[in-house]
Symmetry: C2
Subunit: 247 residues, 2 copies
Amino acid sequence: MPIPIIFRMIVYNMSATTGTIHELESQRTMADKAYEQLKNAIIRGDLAQGSKITEEDLAAEFGFSRGPIREAIRRLEGMKLVVRVPHAGARVVTLSHQMMSDLYTVRESLEGMSARLAARSMSKEKIEELRALLDQHEQKIAEADGKNYFQSEGDFDFHYRVAQASNNEWLIQHLFGELYQLVRMCRYQTAKRPRRPVTALMEHRQILEAIARHDEELAELLMRRHISGAWEVIKPLLPREEKENHD
Amino acid sequence: MPIPIIFRMIVYNMSATTGTIHELESQRTMADKAYEQLKNAIIRGDLAQGSKITEEDLAAEFGFSRGPIREAIRRLEGMKLVVRVPHAGARVVTLSHQMMSDLYTVRESLEGMSARLAARSMSKEKIEELRALLDQHEQKIAEADGKNYFQSEGDFDFHYRVAQASNNEWLIQHLFGELYQLVRMCRYQTAKRPRRPVTALMEHRQILEAIARHDEELAELLMRRHISGAWEVIKPLLPREEKENHD
DNA sequence: TTAGTAATAATTGTCAACAATTTGCGGCTT
DNA sequence: AAGCCGCAAATTGTTGACAATTATTACTAA
């Protein structure tokens, strides 16, 4: 039988050896752990932007050898969270105005397509679930009026669900495998307080209604505006051009 | 000074040690070579789809150790040319109908944005250069009426130049770093003969004229149709659902 | 004969040492 | 005194051996 396509998957072990099904998370390799921890450290700013990363230091810190660390760094490089030059070493990426602008443009394009596809084929049940989710968001905003919880997780949920509804693995992969890590990093490191939860929620509702009406054009248009609006809010918080801060 | 952003770059060595500038390609590491060769082997079908890849075999074949091979495979995994399951091994990706359909959808979105940005800011000089390029293409089609040279390279040139004109590194990276490898692979392995050079050239001209008129909407629309048209041509050449052919 | 189980082979994951390359410092020449 | 050259330190690239895990095979029992 053919192998599951494209994306990395954890597989069940049905071999007769033990008769048990291994826990999905049990077989995480050391490189996985290092990758996960480093990713979080970078995103939340524990590792400063532009700071140098040496395999040896990290190996000492994590307690295991350079091999897994090496692999973790390569994976982070693929995720564009670190920059590497061949024999010279690796550094944490530096978020520049230009870079984030480009990224939001790409995101606008992909999220727009995501909304279009969702409008095309999202089931009534899923739409109803998403409506309920937005109601929860509204409640949370009302309750915890000062926390940034919503923006970090709630927003994620909405966009993620729309992408899932698009039923396009590539779209999901690109939006939430690569771009989103940098978006999160940017949010973490610009301002800690919530930005515009009420506006965002309203826009989410409009997008969802367009999807519910299967209006592809409108769903795409609204989603694009939603993203570019978010960019306009974040833009002024980023440094225009940096002079020094590596190391 | 800040580190060059996002993408991996080869850097000059200006150290006083030798006084020379090392050749850019000289310091290619073994993993680089292995990656390059494997990539080509996969794309042109020398390694069959779904065939198993073992680090040890490749190491023996290439003549060096498992380390670099391992890294090359991971990079190919990032490029979605191989699929890997944690402890079990890696296989060459299997091009499925679903996967390519999803990919062309993403490509439609990104190429559309690419054309839009090009229409927004492409310089008159660049536009004129691109016109000249299309004239060359026309000539080549007229001359070598049976070769697929045009479709492979000429098409690449046009799309690549448009993406460059967008001036968005992410766009270029996604379109030509990741997606395009699979598009190439798909072209190589479906049919060897040219598909629709004349139609494609005409559409390229229309897109370019929209760009020249700075008509963002039209440029995006035409590019989208161009991509989805290309998909309609390739679609029937792909197997709907495969039963067996791994190993 | 067939299902289940244990042993075995094959393959990936990890490690520590070695080689190649780059960077930084100090001495030498002019 | 200034600039170039060369050596030493640091860091990545590579290697081969070993450990952990998975897939396969042979065997036993119902």
